[in-house]
C-alpha cells in the first residue's frame, strides 16, 4: 500500500487545508475595520497629493482678489459656485487647490521627518537593546535628556534662529522626535536577543552586524512599522502647529496648518476657512493612527489588549 504513504516532499492533507501564515495575515487584515478604513482614507489622501497637479481646478498660488472669500458649495449663498467647490480664501485663491497641494506638504514633511527620526531612534534603540549594559545606560540617558526638553518650544526656537524653510522644518522635527522609536526598538530588541536562534547564531560565530540584520531585524520590523506610522502622524501635527505659529512652512506655500493660521482672523465670519483644513488634518492623522493601530493588531495578534 504505497499510495497511503505520502511521498517525500508532498504536503499532507492537513498541511494543504491549514492556511499559510500569509493567508492568515490577509484574513486578519480583511477583518480589521479600523485598518481598512484608515488605509482607505490615507490612500485617498496620498492619491490626492500625488495627482494634485492634474486634478486641482486652479493654480493654488493664483490670487483673484475680485473673487475672494467665496463660500464652499454647500453654503446657501448666491456667491457659492462649482468653479470653486470649497470656496476661496482672503486672497481669492481656490481653497480646493490649496487643500490638494497642502496634502503634499503634510505628507512630505511627515514622511521625511519620520525617516530621519526612525533612523536615529532605531540605531539607538537596537544598540541599547542588543548590547545592554553600559550602551543601554548611555542610550537611556540620551533618551531621558531628549524627553526633558519641550519639543514644540525647541523646534520653534531653532527654526527662528536658523530661518524657516521646508528642509529646516523636516530636519528639526526629524532630529527631535526619535524618542519613541528608541524606546520601542530597545524593548523589542531585548525580547529578540534572548531567543534561542540569536544564541545559536552567536554560537556559530556569526558577526554582530550579521546577527543584527538577518536575525534581529526581521523580528522587530513589525514594531518598527507601527511606530513609524504613529510618528509620521506626530510629525504632521507638529508641522501644522509650527506653521500655525508662523514658524513652519512659509507663505504662500499651501500648508494646512498655515491655512488655519491665515484664516484665524476671519473665522468668526467665515468659519469654513478653518474647518476645511482642520478637518483635512484631523482625517489624515486619524487615518494614519488607525492604520498603525490596525497593523499592530494584525501583526501581533497575541498582544492584542
Amino acid at each position: 500500500m504505497t499510495a497511503a504513504l505520502p511521498r517525500a516532499g508532498m504536503p499532507t492533507a492537513d498541511e494543504i487545508l491549514a492556511p499559510s501564515p500569509g493567508a492568515l495575515l490577509r484574513r486578519r487584515i480583511l477583518r480589521h475595520w479600523g485598518l481598512l478604513i484608515g488605509g482607505l482614507i490615507l490612500g485617498t489622501i496620498v492619491l490626492m497629493a500625488l495627482t494634485a497637479p492634474l486634478v486641482a481646478p486652479h493654480d493654488p498660488y493664483d490670487q483673484q482678489l475680485a473673487r475672494k472669500l467665496i463660500p464652499p458649495i454647500w453654503h446657501a449663498s448666491a456667491k457659492a459656485t462649482w468653479a470653486h467647490p470649497l470656496g476661496t480664501d482672503h486672497l481669492g485663491r481656490d481653497y480646493l487647490s490649496r487643500l490638494l497641494y497642502g496634502a503634499q506638504i503634510s505628507l512630505l514633511i511627515g514622511f521625511s521627518a519620520m525617516l530621519i527620526s526612525g533612523v536615529i531612534g532605531t540605531v539607538l534603540g537596537v544598540l541599547a537593546g542588543y548590547f545592554g549594559g553600559r550602551t543601554d545606560m548611555v542610550v537611556n540617558f540620551i533618551v531621558t535628556t531628549r524627553l526633558s526638553m519641550p519639543v514644540v518650544l525647541v523646534a520653534l526656537a531653532v527654526v527662528s534662529i536658523v530661518g524657516s524653510s521646508l528642509t529646516v522644518v523636516i530636519w528639526v522635527l526629524g532630529l527631535l522626535i526619535w524618542d519613541r522609536f528608541a524606546v520601542v526598538m530597545r524593548s523589542a530588541t531585548q525580547q529578540v536577543r534572548s531567543r534561542e536562534f540569536v544564541t545559536a547564531a552567536q554560537a556559530l560565530g556569526c558577526s554582530t552586524p550579521r546577527i543584527l540584520f538577518t536575525e534581529v531585524a526581521p523580528n522587530i520590523v513589525n514594531h518598527l512599522i507601527v511606530v513609524a506610522t504613529l510618528e509620521m502622524a506626530h510629525a504632521i501635527l507638529l508641522e501644522a502647529a509650527l506653521s500655525f505659529l508662523g514658524l513652519g512652512v512659509q507663505p504662500p506655500t499651501p500648508s494646512w496648518g498655515l491655512m488655519v493660521s491665515e484664516a484665524k482672523g476671519l473665522m468668526f465670519f467665515d468659519p469654513w476657512l478653518i474647518t476645511i483644513p482642520g478637518v483635512a488634518l484631523f482625517l489624515l492623522v486619524l487615518a494614519i493612527n488607525m492604520l498603525g493601530d490596525g497593523l499592530r493588531d494584525v501583526t501581533a495578534p497575541e498582544n492584542r489588549a
Partner: protein, 305 residues
Amino acid sequence: MLAFTLKRLGVALLVALTVSVITFSMIYVSGDPAIAIAGEGARAQDIDAIRKFYGFDRPIPVQYYDWLVGALQGDFGRSYHMRQPVSDIIFSRLPVTMALGAAAIGFALLLAIPLGVLAAVRPNSFFDRFALTLAVIGQAMPTFWFALTLVLWLGVYWRLLPITGSDSWQNFVMPAIALGYYVTPAVMRLTRAGVLEVLSSDYIRTARAKGLRPPTVLFKHALRNAIIPVVSLSAVQFGFMLGGSIVIETIFQINGLGYLAWESIQRKDLPTMQAIVLVLSVIYVLLTLLADLLNAFLDPRLRVA
C-alpha cells in the same frame, strides 16, 4: 530607598546639566547668534554692538560657564526687548502657566479615570468602545484647531465663555480643555489596562470570595493599586503640557510662559528663549524624579533599578 533616591538624583542632575549645554548651544546652530539677532543684511557695526552687548565675543566655554553660574543663582541675564531681568519676567509668568497646566491635567483626569475604570469593568462593552473611539479621535485632533473650534462654538455661537484674557477662572476653562484633552487618551488607556490587570489578581478574588460588595472591591482594593502608574504618568504629562502650552496661550492670549516664549521667539530675544527652555526642562526633570521616587515609595519592587 536611600540608595535608589541618591542614584535617581544623580541621574536627574546629569540630565539637567546636559540639557543646559544643549540649551546654551541652541543659539549657535546658525553659526553666529549676533547675525541671527540682527537679521540678514544688518550693518557690520550693528552686529558688533549686539556681539558686545550679549558677550558673544568671549570664548564659548567662558560664556557657558557664566551663563550656567548665573542661571543657578536665578540670574538669566537681561531681556533686550523688555529691559528688565529675564528671571523677573519668567517668574511673574510661570504661575499663570502652572495654573493652566493644573486645570488641564485636572480636566484630563476627571474625564479619563472614570472612563478608564468603566471601560475596564465592562471590557468590550458599549462604554469600552465609546472610550476607545474617544481616545482615537482625541489623539488625531490638532490642538490649535480644536482650540479655535472651541472658541467658535463655546465662545462665539453659544456665548458661554470669554474668548481671551486671564483675569477670571472662566478664562481658563476653554484653554484647560484644549490643553488637557490631548492627555486624556493616554491616561484613560493606562487606567483601563491597570484596572483590568488588578481585577484579575488573586487578592481581588479573595476580596470577592470574602463577600465584599463589588463597589468596595473596585474602589478600595483595585483602584488604589491601579492608580499608581496613572499618578506618575500625570506628573510626566504635566511637564509635557507646560512645554505644549505655547500654542494654547497664543490662541487665548494668556499671559503665561508659553506666550512669553512665543513673544521672545518672534523678537529673537535669545536670553529669554534660553531661560524658558531651561526652566521648563528642569521642571520636567524634577517632575519625573518625583514620579519615580513616588512610585518606588509606593511599590518597593521598583527600587532595584
